[in-house]
Symmetry: D2
Subunit: 462 residues, 4 copies
């Protein structure tokens, strides 16, 4: 069960009377992370005695009603936004997962994907555990409760981490204690900020910005950060792994205004454009992005190449989830509803079209055809990532290997398939330069097919 989600946690000092409401802060923080998941969202707050939660299917402003938020009082809370994946779109799978156990109550929110989730589930079921959801989150909670019956909190968390394989950035609430955990590889982002009267933990720093907070630092790979009584304590997992930050957070997934592991995403994308310009120069009239994700790289490409930046595609800002599926004859209409061409910017021109990545190739082909239909003389596709040749097992739900257009095709074949006059992918080296992080600290699994941890039937680095 993969998860491409966002997590938050807020802990404020109980004696700080002026501190804003934790439930409202989480509402705003989740709003800032909405791009990480639009299917469902939940908030859980500890009121000094027990945990109360609000969960629902839909966007943040749809799920939370002011009156309900106002009634969620407490000094500590965690929250979650969930990405839609097929087949598991049920209210039961909505996080945080909240339980009562012997010594109190626990809430847990998870961003990531366990590669041994099913094994752990089978093992727990053999011991008589029962599961009400299909999520890894419930598995982690079961493991945690088992340990808590024997060990203290920190020891329990360490022992749970020993059992978990794969990616996990967690916010956990054990009674009044807020805990932030990042897996030893550091696949998924997780950072700590200071806000008025307390601390906030979030998948991306934009959530901290939104709360007028100050980004302190990232949670380190393998770190357990505990917030209690107004203090921060740091513990280390006994597990030591090769640091392996996900490159797709920079390429596509994170917001441009987030700083992840020290790198501003906007800056990385701009540099991707510059690297692309150097690696794949071509004579053209304009550089044009596929909005919105290609915009920053297109600006960088245009600047480095000294070719004019001009928008040839315009996105309809009002396209939402509630779109009515059209009949056969209206299919192309539905495409144009989402993205329209600006013919005067395109007609008779040689276009450098910047996109962040190519997964199946079908969207690229359709867009390039639209641009040709608007009169472009040439369309040169420049892609802000290397070819994706292998699946992600850590939680970026791209596609199966069979669906990945680059898994078994040469560049020239893809160029032809998407109907481009030329196609240039960013090199892995170029990507690493743009990110500005040591190659050995990045996960490049989907670009190389070699993964930082053992995946059944896949090659492993170690």
């Amino acid at each position: 069960m993969e998860e491409k989600c966002g997590v938050v946690g807020v802990s404020v000092s109980p004696d700080n009377e002026s501190s804003p409401d934790v439930a409202h802060q989480m509402y705003y923080a989740l709003y800032a992370l909405q791009h990480r998941g639009q299917e469902s969202t939940g908030i859980a707050v500890y009121d000094g005695t027990t945990i109360h939660s609000i969960k629902g299917m839909g966007l943040v402003p749809e799920v939370y009603i002011k009156d309900d938020l106002d009634n969620l009082s407490g000094n500590v809370g965690i929250g979650h936004v969930r990405y839609s994946t097929t087949g598991d779109s049920r209210i039961e799978n909505c996080q945080p997962f909240v339980v009562n156990y012997k010594n109190g109550c626990i809430a847990l929110a998870h961003n990531g994907n366990l590669t041994n989730g099913q094994e752990l589930r089978d093992e727990l079921e053999s011991e008589g555990h029962i599961f009400v959801t299909e999520s890894d989150t419930e598995v982690i909670v079961h493991l945690l409760v088992k340990k808590l019956l024997t060990y203290d909190t920190i020891e329990s968390l360490k022992k749970v981490m020993e059992r978990l394989e794969g990616s996990y950035s967690l916010t956990v609430m054990i009674d009044s204690m807020l805990i932030a955990i990042r897996d030893p590889f550091g696949f998924k982002p997780l950072c700590i900020g200071e806000v008025d009267g307390g601390y906030v933990v979030a998948s991306e720093s934009v959530a901290i910005d939104t709360l007028n907070g100050k980004l302190i630092r990232d949670v380190e790979p393998g770190e357990i950060v505990v917030f209690r009584n107004g203090d921060i304590e740091s513990y280390r997992s006994t597990e030591q792994k090769k640091i392996s930050h996900c490159v797709f957070e920079y390429i596509y997934f994170a917001r441009p205004d987030s700083i992840i592991d020290g790198q501003l995403v906007y800056r990385v994308r701009e540099k991707i454009g510059r690297e692309l310009a150097k690696e794949h120069p071509v004579e053209a009239d304009i550089v044009s992005p596929v909005p919105d994700s290609g915009i920053t790289s297109a600006v960088g490409y245009a600047d480095t190449s000294s070719i004019k930046y001009s928008e040839g595609l315009m996105k309809n800002r009002y396209i939402g989830r509630t779109f009515i599926l059209p009949g056969q004859s209206m299919r192309e209409t539905a495409v144009r509803l989402k993205m329209n061409t600006i013919s005067q910017n395109i007609s008779g021109k040689k276009i450098i079209l910047i996109d962040d990545s190519i997964v199946r190739g079908t969207t690229s082909k359709r867009i390039i055809n639209m641009i040709r239909g608007a009169g472009a003389k040439e369309v040169h596709a420049r892609i802000g990532s290397p070819p994706i040749i292998a699946p992600c097992y850590m939680g970026i739900n791209m596609a199966t290997r069979e669906e990945l257009v680059a898994s078994d095709r040469k560049i020239s074949e893809i160029e032809e398939l998407i109907d481009a006059d030329s196609l240039g992918y960013l090199s892995i080296e170029g990507l690493i330069r743009a990110i500005g992080i040591d190659k050995n600290k990045l996960c490049l699994g989907c670009l190389t097919g070699v993964y930082p941890l053992k995946i059944h039937s896949e090659e492993c680095e170690s």
Copy 2:
């Protein structure tokens, strides 16, 4: 009752069996015009006998349900999206306005504002007419029905136009006949396109693009275009007025990918940026837009000035109408939720900040303060329009004269008020050059205080 809205109309040939469903086409067309009004929307279709309609409060994808659209059969229809203005947010005011009268049924959708709406209403009420809405639309329908009892359709329409003062782009359906009307001044846009099996009329050409149609031409000021039996007929109002296209459609209101009265809005905005660069050059590190409306002008400014384009502000794409109003302490949070700064792009830099216009000045001040807070060394505001010194009476609901910051202040005073290091407004001449339409064919009322038609207590051109 002013109206800042969008209208559409579709007429397909009854013998064209393959022609897509009129109701679905209008759904897509209205989706493309959603930026012109988010409060309510309606569709009316003539089924050969009578008019059926669907109306509702909310966005296009919220109001229309597939099953309901599927049941709206017919070869001709009109639609409307309505902008939210204070005090009249009722389902009754939702357009199109549909009535039965002696000889059949009529539906009418209106974009614009009658300057003599109240006088006409009073006059009709004196004759015993009764009104169920507060809209000008109902007034126009009453006038039309009165004329239709005596004259033929075209003559009736002409006689109605003789009575209407102000701005009106209309789509009208009289039984199976679709009619597009633009007031003799041509204030509001209205254009004609050809689609598979018929014709479409819309406030902006993007609606035609969305239907894979071809923009044929604009409806001319004072023109009555009739679509019946697969033919287009054109008639002229007897009224002759000075053409007066609204400049704010180019500056702010229309979508960049629309072509209005021959001018691509994107191109106009880019030129506005170039003109601004020439009129108000300043030494700086980056040119940065207020998203989204300042983006295109910022690209133009950067290109002409050869100063690097870089985004210092990032907009949250998920901010919707359902936002929970925050308590006192959360006000600034709510602002940051909508727009975040990218500190690394700003810190220690001299910024040229491009915005489309300044109305009250409060938003400008708040944004400039955010940028300063992110470490900017200097902030030079460059505005893509001349100072707005007077109200609009033709349907762009800006503000009262008292609220307009430029109505009684010198530039230097506004500069100080919004806390900018320098402030440069585009000149009227620069704006006209950017639009590329003869000065005598533009309405500049809000920029000069001189209007193309008589407004009580305001100066008039003629």
Copy 3:
């Protein structure tokens, strides 16, 4: 357009500070009249300047939200509940109908059916009037406004009444004036009550009871009752007609606890049972009602016949409108869902089954079969009304003449058709005795085919 609805009106003294909120009073009054219409409901209140209204599809507790009611302030208001009829279930047809005209604003709510509604509509359309609904209500408002431009209020109302044919019990609000009008025949009920601080008008006295008010009297046929400045004024229509109260209000439609034109409905129904026992005695083990409408008559029959009262059918109290239509195989299930047999009360017994009336005969047949299936030895149907042989043109939407099982069949044929061992209808004389009103003051159109006013193609009394 027939209408089987409920109307209310409330007028409280402006200087009575302790008087409860008019909007809340109407809410409760409409709740008490819910049985008269479940399709839609509306409330309109005059706030001293203009009329504000709330309308919606559904039941009273679904349409009104406390916050909205709290915001509807004013000292006078009218309300409506509407019965569902095919084809016109649109929010536009929801009453009260509210308009602005030359001298102010008007709201009008109507229970009844105009027999010349279409003629009046045609006439008004010929004069240029336009209509936004299909209801008679809008026709009445147009007529009223026409008169108000020339005459004073009372004179205008009288002149409107001269034009209206058919049944109409109206509550009207003209600015701060509340008016109750009953057609000269007095077809539909309408009564006046005194409540704390003011007056209430309602279709049935239960609405007055609910407000802890005191029933003063019925509005008389042809009377115009005006409530203003805390006073009641009474005027008479110039039209004089034969009083013709609808007998079906007593037989079936009204609530048993209502007093209509001086007669308690419960008492009438009990007497109907007694008359039936005298007219159609039969040897049997138990008297059993078809719930709920047959209960009171069954009690009366049992008492007079000295045969034991016992319930053989039980109604599911939770059956609502939202019932899912079943597939073929589930049809009988759906019937049993609404009404179940108590076999032990039925098995081996001779049953006298009391129902209020027979319209199509299909329901009677199904129920008798259910009772036989539960083991009844004999089923003797006793019907609390004479055979319905002709349609109602005054607003009880029964059926067409073709659908009425008694329109062209002898009693013996109906007896066989519904599979009863014997069938006894109440005689017209018995019904009149039970109602206790002079025969000449009742409308017996559907029972005799002779109507108190001219109906095209039907016989007329006068």
Copy 4:
């Protein structure tokens, strides 16, 4: 956590092609049991591989949408309606409770209350079990899964029953197997019926009637009935207890048309009226029920006493849950909205008022005052149950001992408190005669304070 609910289960033969859809059958069955719980409802169906469920807050017709039911395919399913109790109104507590465990999946629906629920929960938590709801249902499932890992299904169920104390009527689904279980005391009803193509289990026989099925028999106290492969198998719990059917199912809770443990509820209530007439005769003009629960007993009282039956109170059939809470001044209005007096039936009369029971006494007092206000000369209250002097621990959520008006008051004190001219409660012996079941097979805990099983701080029979 007490539960006053309804359960169903349906199992149809897989090879019976004509058998109706299990999901639809459960929908109708739950509709028939709606009176047992209006807060939430759920259906779970096994599709051959896994269990799919629909759950929601609200009434049966509100929660289930036809399309969703149509998609729930399978040959076996269980369902639940839940009663609203304070503090636990959350979607998470909605039943059936569905889980995955080692060997498959389980769904369980519970009517009853475990007296050792908290102890079992504590014990399980000590072993590391975690809980996501506050319900006993989850506790039972945990116990069951524990046993299933070691024993076969029947053995596991027996071992679970050894641990459960209190009342429980269960429908359980273990993969394709449907199981009905009733606790060894037989507190709550549970019966088996035959329907077209299979079997149905339900809390009351009306659910079987609704499906056109045939009541076969009750599930016996301590019995485990298994439905698989079209067969019924019966097993016995090793636990032997004194049979203790709840008397309040007859007095108040069940539908009159249900047959519970061989006794028709209608017949019991009628006899209660007859017994009351014998025990507490009084001279009066009419016998009148508090609707709806007092109706059948009033009919019995009237028949035995030969005093006329006549309705003095009328219930508004449209009162729903969505009632708006009134302001101070409207409180009495809200009461009258629910129940109105028929003054003509009451005024100047001596009334015998039949009610099913008295809990707190406040409602009785209010009703008697309303009747006096309508002019009654005397009001003699006759109650269809003995005084309730002690709480119920088995799931009829009455009140605490302090709230029970009869827990510490003499009859004469209660008579005075409710303002009755005389007050007569049914004797315990009279009740037993009316029910027609041996005294030793009834639970009389709330009437005697002596319970069939040990309750902390209460007396116990054994």
